[in-house]
Symmetry: C2
Subunit: 329 residues, 2 copies
């Protein structure tokens, strides 16, 4: 039997602490050379895009892929399928709309764990959407926050987000009227925006950076999308990413920083090397650090497996007969 999980099932089966552990486990496996993950396939359709990103986790014994398609204007559908790597049976197919935001958050959690100051206590979030929430949730797992400041251009949305932080995370939350004010005192920043179509797509600027802070940038996962300026890369003394190859292909922020000569490749490390200690996320309290997220199939497959296991424990989802025949030769 294979387990089909819809948005509601996936949301109920998401536990941010175990998802951060799952993503970190996947990163260690990647560092150990036990992962097969080809560059993801990004295809253009007449009306949007179609992407497929598989990963094989030989150590964890799970393999699968995420597929997502649609367009920013018409909406996007996401699906993750996971299989038992040794036996080959289909374990689960699940909606990966919320899951993608959650695993992106979990990855930010891992980055923040290894890059932010141990005594970081305050966070600022630019953006109020789903990714803003999941990323803050993950930051709150890895650092004990006592205050969060939020900014979003829409006053009602930022207030609703602050209310959610208070009620859901139990952390003091206030709103700010500008992005600069929002981030003025925070130890940890989350930039999680979709500024496409805005006159100024830059939501966070390097000019606002201060000593000792850590910035996570989640948006700009396509060449035409932007959210942070080249100065942000220039002022960060240490930059981590989940995939060096991918950020150069896919992130408009990185492409622009490279064009402006403000992207020093020598400062860039991969997250997988932070978790094993092969690279260091922060060498001094005063250092400015930056995590630029693009998302990888390792995160999807590991998060999908965590969701599947939790869904089994909670008896969530719909069982369907295993419809895949085993062809022997």
């Amino acid at each position: 039997m294979a387990l089909v999980l819809d948005l509601n099932d996936v949301t109920r089966a998401t536990d941010m602490t175990s998802m951060i552990e799952a993503v970190e486990k996947g990163l260690r496996e990647e560092a150990a050379g036990r992962v097969v993950m080809p560059p993801r396939l990004n295809m253009a359709t007449d009306s949007g895009f179609f992407r497929v990103m598989p990963a094989i986790m030989n150590e964890s014994g799970v393999m699968g892929y995420k597929e997502f398609h649609g367009s920013i204007t018409n909406g996007v559908r996401y699906m993750i399928a996971i299989y038992d790597a040794a036996e080959g049976s289909l374990l689960s197919m699940m909606d990966a709309s919320y899951l993608t935001a959650a695993r992106t958050g979990a990855t930010t959690g891992v980055a923040t764990k290894y890059m932010a100051r141990q005594d970081a206590k305050t966070a600022a979030v630019i953006g109020s959407g789903l990714e803003a929430r999941t990323n803050l949730q993950a930051v709150a797992v890895v650092r004990k926050l006592d205050k969060v400041t939020v900014f979003s251009p829409n006053p009602a949305k930022r207030q609703a987000f602050a209310d959610w932080i208070k009620s859901e995370l139990g952390i003091e939350a206030v709103t700010a009227e500008t992005a600069e004010q929002c981030t003025a005192e925070a130890d940890i920043i989350v930039v999680a925006t979709n500024t496409s179509g805005k006159a100024d797509p830059i939501a966070y600027r390097g000019a606002w950076m201060r000593e000792g802070m850590h910035v996570n940038s989640i948006g700009s996962t396509m060449p035409r999308l932007r959210e942070i300026d080249p100065d942000t890369f220039d002022r960060a003394q240490r930059i981590a990413t989940d995939s060096v190859a991918q950020i150069h292909e896919e992130s408009g922020d990185v492409i622009t920083a490279v064009e402006d000569g403000k992207f020093d490749a020598g400062r860039v490390v991969e997250l997988k090397d932070l978790v094993t200690g092969a690279a260091t996320g922060r060498t001094a309290a005063a250092e400015i650090t930056l995590f630029k997220s693009v998302g990888t199939a390792v995160q999807d497959v590991m998060a999908g497996m965590a969701i599947y296991e939790e869904a089994r424990r909670q008896s969530l989802g719909t069982e369907i007969p295993d419809f895949l025949d085993l062809k022997t030769f």
Copy 2:
């Protein structure tokens, strides 16, 4: 609602005549530049392989992928998922074990239609497995056969296959005791073997070729698999394939022929150019022609769509709620 189709549903929804039409339609669309099909992803796992092959058919308005994984020794599972290309909704997920054999047959049908002599009447099949059957079925759709000779090393299997041809296709069928005898008089040959592990993996030899014949070779879709010798490529005056790029990457037969200096790239055309008339499959009755099949996602997606439409007509399969949420921004 999405339609889940298992092996039984897919088998019942397969009609070889409409599948040949669907594959040919896909090839025309490919020739017209209305298809997006990146090289397929071939990944190795600890115990086998995992392949993902997507295609977007912008003209037909369908997109999707085939995923298959396992190993020749442990068995393989195949799945095709298709989506409405414009709207994005998941239409169907189906077992693609039989479907893969059927669409490979349908593609051979297209090749035979454009390459075999119009008056071809006799066929020989080397192999007695599922691919042997589906490929012969397709040949019988595009040419009026009055006799089929079959060879397979196992006498019981070749007799069972001959009996099947008589009862299912209504064509006179006899068995032969060697591959050479089997093919000695046939106008159209189908080589559809899995000779891995055999002392001699070559099932068909160029030395046996005669004027005016057309040969279809279906096996050897991985570098380590073989079924025809370099002389077969050398003696064929016209060679067609479904993907020039792929045969060089994936077919052990082609790789070996190239190494032996017996592969003349100037004789090679793609199937998509045969169906539009941009290339000619046969220029004289005496010509020897060869189709080397590797399989593409265009064939899978088009065949999957044909199956889906027929399954809807016959009310086959299991409806599941559309579990993919539409995320809007």
